[in-house]
């Protein structure tokens, strides 16, 4: 167990209130970088921070720096729509996400940080008989692997989500749903902070506002990571920079089979509790849930073309909002409050790329697109294991970069080598 000083608890809160406004210690230490580390993790998103934490907790490796160009969680960690679930059909995808879902269930306690893990249920809507049949196939696969899945016909679905518009004359009528009751939401920025605090408590250095600008190589190894705070030697480098993966790969001398595409999310003004479940519309794409503050959080598909512009475009907001209103007509009365975008790194089969790279001591964690938040604990845990043992953990081995050459693709969406369609 990590030794937190102070440990967050109701008792600690009361004590501090009683003693007067005593400032809390920083959640993670601010330190200047050393001249070198055993492991340098580039990218202070939830994935990079989780990897550092599990390296320290499980593998006894504590000489680690996490290097972040901005602030912790300022990337896709703090921009996603916070959905967790493991309702995947393909074996490799499902196993990794199910491992993550099991880890989420105990994570707040372990990290001594309230991650607001809310297993409120994830409702995936089908719009035709054919789609329902595919959902039954997927639900059966999920159950056979020991996960939970239910198929709801229209009547049962209306009971589960009373606000849902199931009008048969709708533009894209709803036929039924696959529901994973263990799915839900997690407060995303808290995940970055909690892993950072727990990693820092074990001696990991977290270095913010420090962009990596290049590498110095000897032969097929990286010797030194060049940063804006000076050169840092590394025995091993992990690249975990989401939408900026191609840029880091290019610095290291290779191309990746992925493209960067903006994905948007937005929130409405806060209203009284109206929706106690996450709902996903599949004719096009729109997913919606309500935060504890009362805002509806909405997201949709990609912008549809390569983009590093994290503001996103109006046509996509309009499309997504239209779908949300078709599901929940009451949403038409709400005003949009904030809108933002994140740069998603989407691989040629729409799935993640984890493990070895063409550079001997560089491990990749990329290609998570707009689906990687839910996998965070399992990714960190399995990557740490892989780094320490020098061989990919079985949970991540199928996601090797080499699959694009061997042909063992993991295309959950069946969309082919067109990232903008995934």
């Amino acid at each position: 167990m990590t030794d937190f000083k102070p440990k967050y608890s109701a008792w600690e809160l009361v004590k501090r209130a009683w003693q007067g406004d005593r400032p809390w210690a920083r959640a993670w230490a601010q330190v200047p970088p050393k001249s070198g580390y055993q492991v340098v993790i580039i990218g202070g998103g939830a994935h990079g921070l989780a990897t550092a934490y599990y390296l320290a907790r499980d593998q006894g490796i504590r000489d680690i720096a996490v290097i972040e160009k901005g602030w912790l969680g300022g990337g896709n960690t703090g921009r996603n729509t916070t959905i967790i679930r493991s309702d995947y059909f393909l074996e490799a995808s499902a196993r990794l996400k199910e491992k993550a879902l099991q880890m989420w269930e105990g994570l707040s306690r372990e990290l001594n940080f309230n991650l607001m893990v809310s297993q409120r249920g994830y409702v995936d809507l089908a719009h035709s008989d054919g789609e329902m049949e595919a959902f039954v196939l997927r639900a059966n696969a999920m159950r056979l692997r020991g996960s939970d899945a239910q198929i709801l016909d229209l009547e049962a679905l209306q009971r589960r989500v009373p606000q849902l518009n199931i009008d048969p004359m709708a533009r894209f009528p709803i036929a039924g749903a696959l529901v994973q009751e263990r799915g839900g939401t997690v407060r995303h920025d808290a995940v970055a902070w909690a892993y950072a605090r727990a990693a820092s408590a074990q001696g990991v250095h977290i270095i913010e506002h420090c962009p990596v600008t290049g590498f110095e190589k000897t032969g097929d190894r990286i010797q030194t990571v060049i940063t804006e705070k000076g050169p840092i030697d590394a025995d091993h480098v992990v690249v975990s920079v989401a939408g900026h993966s191609s840029e880091l790969a290019r610095m290291a001398g290779f191309d990746l089979p992925l493209e960067s595409i903006a994905v948007q999310a937005f929130v409405s003004e806060p209203v009284k509790p109206a929706l106690d479940v996450v709902v996903n519309f599949n004719a096009g794409l729109a997913y919606v849930s309500q935060t504890d503050k009362g805002e509806l959080v909405m997201g949709g598909g990609t912008e549809g073309y390569n983009s590093y512009a994290s503001r996103g475009s109006l046509p996509r907001i309009e499309e997504t909002a239209a779908r949300v209103i078709e599901m929940f007509p009451f949403a038409a009365k709400l005003r949009l409050m904030r809108q933002w975008g994140g740069i998603a790194d989407i691989a040629m089969d729409g799935n993640a790329i984890m493990g070895p790279s063409p550079v001997a001591n560089l491990t990749l964690n990329a290609g998570w697109g707009y689906a990687g938040f839910k996998a965070t604990p399992a990714v960190g845990w399995a990557l740490a294991h892989s780094l320490a043992k020098g061989t990919p953990h079985p949970l991540i081995a199928p996601f090797a970069l080499a699959r694009f050459q061997s042909g063992a693709l993991i295309d959950d969406g069946g969309a082919g080598p067109s990232p903008y369609l995934h």
Partner: protein, 92 residues
């Protein structure tokens, strides 16, 4: 909204077009059809640049021609668009 200067129809909104992805990589010759490395490079590998990107757009809401377009992936500014059959980039 991206505005694409179609060589046949003039400047038109992105909503009239369908995106077709990276147009910077020439297709390997079909004569050595089993050159695995060349096909892997063509089908999978991408430069994915921050900045100017040459890409295909299909003008379904207009001339129904495939275009090659150079667009900046940060600013979305389009520098040129030409008919994809023309193969050569227009004179700047």
């Amino acid at each position: 909204m991206i505005v694409i200067p179609c060589p046949w129809c003039g400047p038109r909104d992105e909503s009239e077009f369908t995106y077709g992805g990276d147009a910077s990589r020439p297709m390997p010759s079909l004569k050595n059809g089993n050159d695995q490395a060349a096909w892997h490079g063509f089908v999978h590998q991408r430069e994915n640049p921050k900045g100017p990107h040459v890409e295909y757009w299909y003008h379904g809401g207009g001339c129904e021609r495939w275009l090659r377009v150079e667009r900046d992936t940060i600013t979305h500014q389009v520098r040129w668009a030409s008919d994809a059959a023309a193969k050569t980039e227009p004179e700047q």
